[in-house]
Each structure stands twice: as structure tokens, then as C-alpha cells.
Amino acid sequence: MLDRVNYVAFITILNKEITRFLRIWPQTLLPPVISMTLYFLIFGKLIGSQISDMSGFSYMQYIAPGLVMMSVVTNAYSNVASSFFGTKFQRNIDEMLIAPVSNLVILVGFVMGGILRGLMIGLLVILIALFFTKLHVYNLFIILSVALLSSLLFSLAGFTNGLMANKFDDVMIIPTFVITPLTYLGGVFYSIHLLSPFWQELSKLNPVLYMVNAFRYGILGLSDVNIMVAMVMIIVFIVALFILNLALMQRGYGLRS
């Protein structure tokens, strides 16, 4: 699959994606830095000081992994959704469609761009968190693999969004009405054990819950859910979205008339 043409094409797409989010850094890198600083300041420092320890950790420490994960997934998602939709909207995508580059390479190129942006933001938010509190490394392998898999999953979802969108509104609607509620309800700010059994069970249908908890486990050794289940769930979602995207592209969905 990865012959010379596809290899060069892959590097080209990836390079283009990185150049893009670095060029528009006030829209891509700055906002999460500002909003996360505010979260740490207001929720962590001001409100958090009034809250008793969460399983032996300060509230600041408790929310830090969730905030990192929240930034990683939302940035991975919106990077791919808006970049791919923009490329499609300007008909710029034709440059790739007429060339002998495979759909797989186009997909992986854009998704890789989203992963890199997600991880870069994740790193920035960790640095911000370190200004406010101490973070542990309970299990480095879990930290790295959860960050990678979560950004991969949300990049793939962003790609689906970009592919199916017909207008700019369509790439705003899903983040506002789906991604944001899922992340806020994904146990970033609270343990689901604080909820009634019904809401606990409902929360377990939320994929973000698994990522946040797995990531928190990697850092603090603390989780509301079984880590193995969390990892398997993430991988299942990844495989499903990957196949969906490739199948849509193969059919020319949203790309060829």
C-alpha cells in the first residue's frame, strides 16, 4: 500500500496539515490555553479549595487529567473537521482526488494532523496544570496510549463530520450539541459515583467517560471504570469510524458528483 507515490503524498498532506494549524495558531493553539488556564484558576483554585479531597487527591489534581483529555479530544476533532471541510468547500480537495494518492492515505494524513494538534494541546495543558499543582505518573504506558487512541478516535470522528458536512454550520453543530455535552458529562469534574445509579449507568454509554477515566488512571491511578473495558471500547469505536470513513470515501460520498 505505501509505495513511493503514496509515501510522498502522505508526507505532503501531513506537512500541509501541520503548517495549517501552526499558521492559524491564534485560532488553534491559543484558545485552549486561555480557557484551560481559566478552568484551573476558577474550578481548581477558587472553587476547588472549598471542596474536600477526592479519593486522597485535591480537586485540582482530580480535574487536571480530565481537562487535558477534554482539550485533546475537542482539538483533534475540530482540527480535522474544519480542515477537511474547508478543503472540500474550496474544492481544494480536487488536487488530491485527481492525483494517484489512495483514499487511505488522504484519511490517515488528515487524521494524523488532528492527532498531532490534539497531543500538542494536551502537552500545553499539562504544562499549565503544572503551574497549579503536581501531577503524578502512575502508568506512563496508559497515559501515552490513551492520549494517542483518544485523539485518533476524535480525529476520525471529525473526519466523518467534515466529509458529511455541506455547510460551515454543519461543522459547528456537532461540537456544540454533541462533543461539548459529552465532555462535560464525561466525568471531568466529578466522579460518576456521586450520581444516582440511573445516571451512573447512562454515563457509561458516553465514550468520553472511558477516555477521561483511563487517562486519570494513568496519572493518578484512579478510575470509575474498568481500564481494560475502557481501552477495548475506545478501540472498537476507532475501528468502526475508520471503516465508515473509508467506505464513504470509496463511494465518493460528499466528494464526487
Binding site: 503524498a9 488536487e95 458528483s257
Partner: protein
């Protein structure tokens, strides 16, 4: 070998528009080929199918022997496309646009940059290499699209209205450039609404109208098939009555302008004899239209009953 074989191409868009009704034509290797037709005839649709941007609903396409359905990758490698509409990323610079496009064809950056320098200089865009494309003029954008289509050295270059909105001087220099490319072996297919452009550049021609092929021949025999030509004569004095012009079909455009059809076998000398005998002085004369233009209009308006 044929550079392009198109057989019974059919396209019905999802909207229900039946854009192509079984078009067939062949472009020989090394040819300079014109694909002409009025607005909405189906030219861009045909090009879209050949370049895999549009899914055909029927028919066959072969590019240098490679079948579009079974060997798409090799089809793509042979073709360079200059689309009708600007479609580059408006935030990227000229150099980024061309190097990226080359990258999608597998041309490594280093080689792409060398080739880009050569072509950008050749087409007068080298000074603009670091300018974002949104800051280019229309004519510069057209040239950029040509450079972008060439960096992977395609054997078949397809240009969809490459000189639309380009001034005369620049158009001529683009013609020279395309001619040179063709002389060096690149097969070229071109659509245009400037018929003198097709007449000047192209050896073979296909005319489509309402999704049907109405003419496919070489330029020379097409022009020879023009049986009548219309001339416009500007007169010294206003005419009160129509002069008697025997077999010539003529009418007055206004009192000082006369339009005359000249058929094969009729002579201008004879026309002028008749006119001077009746004291009509002609000061200037011009062809009513470019010869190809005249033919084109006759062919496409005659076919108008296919509408719908």
C-alpha cells in the same frame, strides 16, 4: 497509440440533469485537441469524468491504454488538469500550492521545487512565489493553475478554459507556451469560448452541444466546410435603396453598413464590380465573425431543438 479514448460516455447527475448522452471521441498521442460547445454543453462534465472528479453513469474511458475503471491509478498519473474554476487553497503561497500538488503525485519536494522554479519563471510568476494565492490577479491565478498541472510531467494536459478572463497579450503568451509544450510531446486537450484560440492552436476538434457530439473532425476540413462567409462593408455615402446584387444575399445593417454572404464559388471581385457600377463606394470591410465562430454558431444553433 491513442492518448484518450472516450466511448459512449453517459452522465446523469443526482439532480436528474442528463448532461451527457453517449459521447465518443479519440485523441491521438501528440495531438492538440479542442473540445468546444456552448455553456452547459457538457465539456466540464466530460473532463470531470476523465479526471475522476465526476462518476460516469455509463461508457468507457481509456488514457494511454489504461482503463479508468480497472486501472485508475495509472490513468491519473498520465493526466495534468487545469480546472475551469480556481480551486487552490487561498492561504497557501504560490510555491506551496505547486509543491503540494506535485507531492500528491509522488514528486519529492526537492525535485518539485526545481521544476517549479523553471515553470514559474517561464510563466512570469517567479516573483510571486511567496505570495498567498488570494493576492494574485485573475491572470496570475490562471497561470498558476497551469504550472500546478505540470510539475508531475503529465503526458496528457487537459485545460478547461485556461484563458478565461485573460487579456490579449497574456493570452498570446500562454498560447506560445502551450504550443511549445505540445511540440515537446505533451498531448493537449483544451476547451475555450474564444474560438480564434482553438483555431490558432488546435489540429483536431470535437463540438458538443446538449450532451451530444455534433462534430468531430480536423480543424482544416472543418473550416473548409464553411460554405458561406459573411462580410460587413462600410460605405462612403448613406444608401437610400438596396443595391441590386444578383446572386449575393445581402441586407443593410444601417444606411451606411451592408452585410453580404459570400458562398463558395462567388467572388469578391464580382461583388465590388456590381457595387461600383451602382456608384456605391466601400471604404472598409471586415469578416462578420471569425470563420470558426461562424461555423460554431451554425452548428450549435441548428442543434438547438435537442434542448431539454
Amino acid at each position: 497509440m491513442s492518448a484518450l479514448v472516450v466511448e459512449n460516455l453517459e452522465k446523469t447527475y443526482a439532480s436528474g440533469v442528463h448532461a451527457l448522452h453517449g459521447i465518443s471521441f479519440v485523441v491521438k498521442e501528440g495531438d492538440f485537441f479542442a473540445l468546444l460547445g456552448p455553456n452547459g454543453a457538457g465539456k466540464s462534465t466530460t473532463i470531470g469524468i476523465i479526471t475522476s472528479l465526476v462518476n460516469k453513469t455509463g461508457g468507457k474511458v481509456r488514457v494511454f491504454g489504461h482503463d479508468l475503471d480497472t486501472d485508475l491509478r495509472n490513468v491519473k498519473k498520465q493526466i495534468g488538469l487545469v480546472p475551469q474554476e480556481f480551486n487552490f487553497n487561498i492561504f497557501e503561497t504560490v510555491m506551496q500550492v505547486v509543491v503540494n500538488q506535485a507531492g500528491y503525485y509522488g514528486v519529492p519536494t526537492k525535485i518539485a521545487k526545481e521544476r517549479a522554479e523553471w515553470y514559474l519563471k517561464k510563466l512570469g510568476l517567479w516573483d510571486k512565489r511567496n505570495t498567498p494565492t488570494r493576492m494574485l490577479s485573475g491572470g496570475m491565478k490562471r497561470r498558476l493553475m497551469i504550472v500546478r498541472a505540470l510539475l508531475h510531467e503529465p503526458r496528457l494536459l487537459i485545460l478547461d478554459e485556461p484563458t478565461a478572463g485573460v487579456d490579449i497579450e497574456l493570452r498570446r503568451s500562454m498560447w506560445d507556451f502551450l504550443r511549445e509544450m505540445n511540440q515537446q510531446g505533451t498531448t493537449i486537450i483544451l476547451t475555450t469560448h474564444y474560438l480564434e484560440e482553438a483555431e490558432y492552436l488546435c489540429r483536431n476538434i470535437a463540438i458538443i452541444d446538449h450532451g451530444e457530439l455534433i462534430k468531430n473532425t480536423n480543424m482544416r476540413s472543418l473550416l473548409d466546410s464553411l460554405h458561406t462567409e459573411t462580410f460587413v462593408l462600410y460605405l462612403q455615402e448613406p444608401l437610400l435603396d438596396m443595391p441590386v446584387l444578383e446572386d449575393f444575399t445581402a441586407h443593410l445593417i444601417d444606411h451606411k453598413t451592408l452585410s453580404v454572404d459570400l458562398s463558395v464559388g462567388q467572388q469578391l471581385n464580382h461583388l465590388f464590380e456590381l457595387l461600383s457600377r451602382q456608384g456605391v463606394q466601400v471604404v472598409r470591410m471586415r469578416n462578420k465573425a471569425n470563420r470558426l465562430e461562424e461555423l460554431f454558431l451554425r452548428l450549435t444553433t441548428k442543434e438547438n431543438h435537442h434542448a431539454g
